[in-house]
Symmetry: C2
Amino acid sequence: MTRIAYTNGMFVPHDYATVSMDDRGYHFADSVYEVIAYNQRGFFVDGKRHLDRLRSSLKALNIPFRMSDQALFLVMHELVRKNRHSEGYVYLQITRGIAPRDHLVRDFLEPTLAMFAEHCTFQETPPHLKVFTVPDIRWKRNDIKSTSLLGVVVGKYQAANKGGDEAWLVNDEGFVTEGGATNAWIVTHKGVVQTHPATNAILNGITRQRLIEIAKDVSIVVEEKPFTVEDAKSAREAFLTSSTKGVHPIIEIDDQKIGNGLMGDITQKLQKAYWHFYQHTKNDYGEIS
Amino acid sequence: MTRIAYTNGMFVPHDYATVSMDDRGYHFADSVYEVIAYNQRGFFVDGKRHLDRLRSSLKALNIPFRMSDQALFLVMHELVRKNRHSEGYVYLQITRGIAPRDHLVRDFLEPTLAMFAEHCTFQETPPHLKVFTVPDIRWKRNDIKSTSLLGVVVGKYQAANKGGDEAWLVNDEGFVTEGGATNAWIVTHKGVVQTHPATNAILNGITRQRLIEIAKDVSIVVEEKPFTVEDAKSAREAFLTSSTKGVHPIIEIDDQKIGNGLMGDITQKLQKAYWHFYQHTKNDYGEIS
């Protein structure tokens, strides 16, 4: 079946989806994006929150984007329908637009919107992951979900070379900020869940935010406080979160086993609770027929 | 006249030059570039040095690119010829290639090469510029000439909003690293030229390297040593360099006049010397008919 993408205002076969060479996304990484999962019932998971964050990223970079949430959701739904996936995610990228290459934008530009859909299955029984710590060499505005991602590409490459499933990024002070494309969490021996606070050093994941709320519901205490690599290695449990993965347990950090080397109790409780939320969520932005 | 660009192995009208939406340059800024000026006689200025640096950037990111310098120069010359510019520069970008979006590269990819030519005139009498200092929020590998440039875009925007022609980026220690798309220099009251050393904090500009050599020839002392914003504001002279600009005097930093507010003697001497080099240089990589 032909995969369908959306570029330049049109649905096109994915393999023929192109953007201008003069797109600022290509020359300067002057663009933002979102990855939004949809469940087997066809509902976007925390769709409204993703689009709210998209607006924040656009605002932080002064990219004026006029298409409404309603119109965006319409296109997203149509994209999913055309691709006939039962479950997966939509990738959505907005760049500042097309202009002769110049760092400085001198005129109003029409932003470029590109989207594609990908099939993937949210795993009820998650894989057990190994991570490796690498230096966090990224820029200082990781709160913006931009495509300036080369620092992450380098970090994930280093971790994968050692056999890791994900990289944990460590800043100059020795704290783990987040994973390459996930948020990083540990569980202390007191049973407290710990994750880096939502500063400019991390992207405040939508799944991260949702999990903090879910944790409250199941009476698990979450502290937003940085932890070191040593804290992590001696933790009772560790896990990561992302919109397409939910909660995945981490059983090794830098080749060192965490806890008993299996998914811990608290991780499992959170994983199941998030899984339940994911399965039963409905669109949070009103009806789209 | 139709502008001609080079993408996907072909010369195409610039306005129709596209790249795949799945290009890693678009999703991840996983790419490097060079800007290479050519003078009125049609010679690339320090062309070999630019391609050498391109190879260094590619190597730093483990991007395998097999096209030889000779072949690259052939395409560059043909691009200039087709565009019939008397003087200008070639922009050349190489990305890791096209692949389904995943931070991690799992297979060998064919890198993507894109080029365009732009007309511009190298000014014998350079404009007198004003700069504003802004925080250096970029990543930690500015020695790689990558397209992960959003930090620069933000900085140049901040400086331009205040009326600046360029941004000077200031790191956490208070040192000026470099300009948004230029290297930063001051002249002390002892007549010593000072510029940030070529660490990971800056891009070691080809014009920067060339100017250090030229300075020696005209008996001007250059020290590669970081300077603070205060050092700069109280300096005798200040200037910037880039491949398309050569040497441009800076007459104001953060609204404060530098020296007597005109181009200083040492800046002028270096500007003239570089201008002479630029005008009289020939290809440094052998003959291309």
